[in-house]
Amino acid sequence: MTTIQQPRILGAGVDRVDGPLKVTGQARYPNDVNLPGMAYAAVVRSTIPSGRITRMDTTAAEKSPGVLEVITHENADHLGEAPATFIKNPQPPLQDDAIRFYGQYIAVVVADTQQNATAAAGLIEVEYERHEAILDPHDPRAERIKDPWGEDTAWGDVRTALNRAPVMIDQTYTTSENTNNPLGLFTTLASWDGDTLTLHDSNQWPNMIQQVVAAMFGLPRDAVRVLTPFVGGGFGAGLRCWSHIPLAVMAARHVGRPVKLELTRPEMFTGLGHRTSSINWIRLGATRDGRLTAIEHESLTTLPLDGDEYEPCSSVSTWSYASPNVTARDQQVRLNIPWTNFMRAPGDAQGNFALESAIDELAWEVGLDPLEIRLLNYAEVDPKTGRPWSSNALRRCLEVGAQRFGWSNRNPEIGSMRDGHELVGYGVAGVSFFWYQQPCSAKVIVRGDGSAYVRSAVTDIGTGTYTIMAQLAAGLLGLEVDQVEMQLGDSSMPVGTAAGGSGLTAALGSAVHDACGRLIQKFVDLAGTDPFSPLANVPFEDVAVSEGRLFRKGDPTRGESLARILAVHGLTELSADGNSTPNSPDQLGMTPAGARGARFVEVRVDEDLGRVRVARIVTVNDGGRILNEKLARSQILGGTVGGVGMALFEDTVTDKDTGRIANATFGDYLIPVNADIPDVHVEFVGEPDAFNPIGVKGIGEIGLVGVAPAIANGIFHATGKRIRSLPITMDEVMD
């Protein structure tokens, strides 16, 4: 009974169920909500990276037209500690005079209009005592943290293997800081009603915001309601309770009115974290025919003074290829910088760039086709434990991708494929993505008319959760997709996990699966109490469901509709709660494998200008069971665009003297535009994964991973220039 009954509903390219709202401007994002009597907030940020505030003059701001309140550390409410959720959350703002990074919030101004609030914020005068800031990861004074998560890994004897290896690659690969930059300006609209608080808030995890805000303001969790039915993207930016959120809550309490605090684009660069830069040291040992004998991968990433971050860049080297000797170590260094934070494929994106570049270098060193070397070193089993994978179609990704791309047309000689003034290069990269899942819950309800609705506190950040969960519930309950209504993005609903780590579909999907199974069981039990029911005395195992009816397997005439069962028993609806927790690798005797993928890229390099153009991309991915091909393809397309950005454009530049982010606008921080993106062929391979009951693997992030090394590897093929730092710029190509 708990199998998926209507496979035709799954996999099909069902249109996004929230699509009509989004193409008509009717989907209400947090900053679209306007409440009666609402006031507007504007923040003031520090203009030094380290030190303390010695004087603040708010007189002019307070007298400025329309101003209702100015809050600084001198009159801020004392707030409680922010609890760590999956990782740490920033401690409450405005609690002391200390400055830890350039751009830290030091005041908030509330006024009757946004214009008045913004103007008054500019009138606050601040004097500082400056301390020397530490901004360079190589600064010897900076605190270094070794093995930050206790996950450093080693097996075999890497030292000896490297010493004895006939072929060795020993290189350093670096990636720049990137900023998530979801297009939606993160906004908190805080509204108090006595001792209860409602937040319309941009985030990826409403229950996390609820928990952290409740703790900071000393409220019971139930007194805080967080509403996020729609959010203008996240890419990881919404996975912590950032400081503007308690600022808005505090401001609303001060003025006794709802307060909307909408970050500006420059504030989005300092207030929501960013992808850490990374330095990756890689040593590969191999036989003359290209078989890996040793991988040593060390990384260094950055941290703010008072935060944490989980960014294990080296971990990709422990599961991507078979090697008898592996060492993977990570270090972090604390700097006076805004928080580093998750951004689409944290750690994996940077580590994969390093590993897949190094593997490519090894291929050239031993004279092997870059595709062949990846197939040669394919990890048939988890190289760390020797356990089988829950599923792993990396080999198939590489083979299918090569065929679709026409890899066999590649002339292996460097610079041999020319088209006019452009040098053509083919690049490939493999991707093995991490696995991640957290507990989640959902409630599924069938109404008297036979339709259903599904509730969970999780939010859909644009990945398609509304749609695929409606499909899944419809499939499990024997309904049509349009008979299932989704209610998400409200912390008062059944507790949900984060829309992050590519983990939501498995977590929520398994909870919906559990709830639907329990609900059908309830219907069968109910029918069993009715001696006139055609289903009386039919055991649960023998019941199937289709077209809103339960019936005996093999005898569709012997059944009863869900609506009729409810009517017979005088019920208006019937519901069931579902929960999911990740399975245990030990119990199942297998290693859960995240998504797998292969990237094939044709780059064209202008010989005279060094301009790099991506001409076409083939991306093949193993995402386990695909619930909706149309939306899954979009996830991969979007990741691919992010990967092109990481490879060629994105670089958050910090001024090394002041710690100021120097390019914190969309005019200066470049992301791909439509004309930068060529034809992208997306394809899925693989089978339903064995690690969760619905067989899915998360695919929200993997699309980004591998694009950058495939481009870099293609540039090497075209030009003979091996570029080991991202983003790849024209000057490096010309150098």
């Binding site: 009509p20 401007g25 209009t113 684009r265 606008t665 992301i671 439509n674």
Partner: protein, 148 residues
């Protein structure tokens, strides 16, 4: 009093504060929040609306400049084929840039600049999509342009 004409309706507006942009007037004063703010600096295109049929950035336009002009926002489209095409081609994910993309595409069709994929890509490049739906946006615009 300034009069803003938006989607055929006249809205008298007290613009004692001349700093109010068209974007803020639409969103904060008229509660027409379909037009989005992504940068407020004229760099992302999320606030694209039509002014007398031409696409403009509402964040770089003062509301007071629009006295006597016809503004069309996403709420003013009446089942435009692009809206349907955007849904079928999955030309968005989070949906935040979508109003601006569609308004730009509506103007693009009027400008006869949707003849080739290269043209569509070029002339839609003022509208950023961080979710990366560009290929599907091109497919949606191409389909409507071919059937126009």
């Amino acid at each position: 009093m300034t009069t803003l004409t938006v989607n055929g309706t006249e809205y008298p507006l007290d613009l004692a504060d001349p700093r109010v942009t068209l974007l803020d007037a639409l969103r904060d004063r008229l509660d027409l929040t379909g037009t989005k703010k992504g940068c407020d600096q004229g760099a992302c295109g999320a606030c694209t609306v039509l002014c007398d049929g031409r696409r403009i950035l509402a964040c770089l336009t003062l509301a007071a400049q629009c006295d006597g002009r016809e503004i069309t926002t996403i709420e003013g489209l009446e089942s435009h084929p692009l809206q349907d095409a955007f849904v079928r081609h999955d030309a968005f994910q989070c949906g935040y840039c979508t109003s601006g993309q569609i308004m730009s595409a509506v103007a693009l069709l009027g400008e006869n600049r949707a003849g080739t994929d290269a043209d569509i890509r070029e002339y839609m490049s003022g509208n950023l999509c961080r979710c990366g739906a560009y290929s599907n946006i091109v497919a949606a615009v191409r389909e409507v342009a071919r059937h126009a």
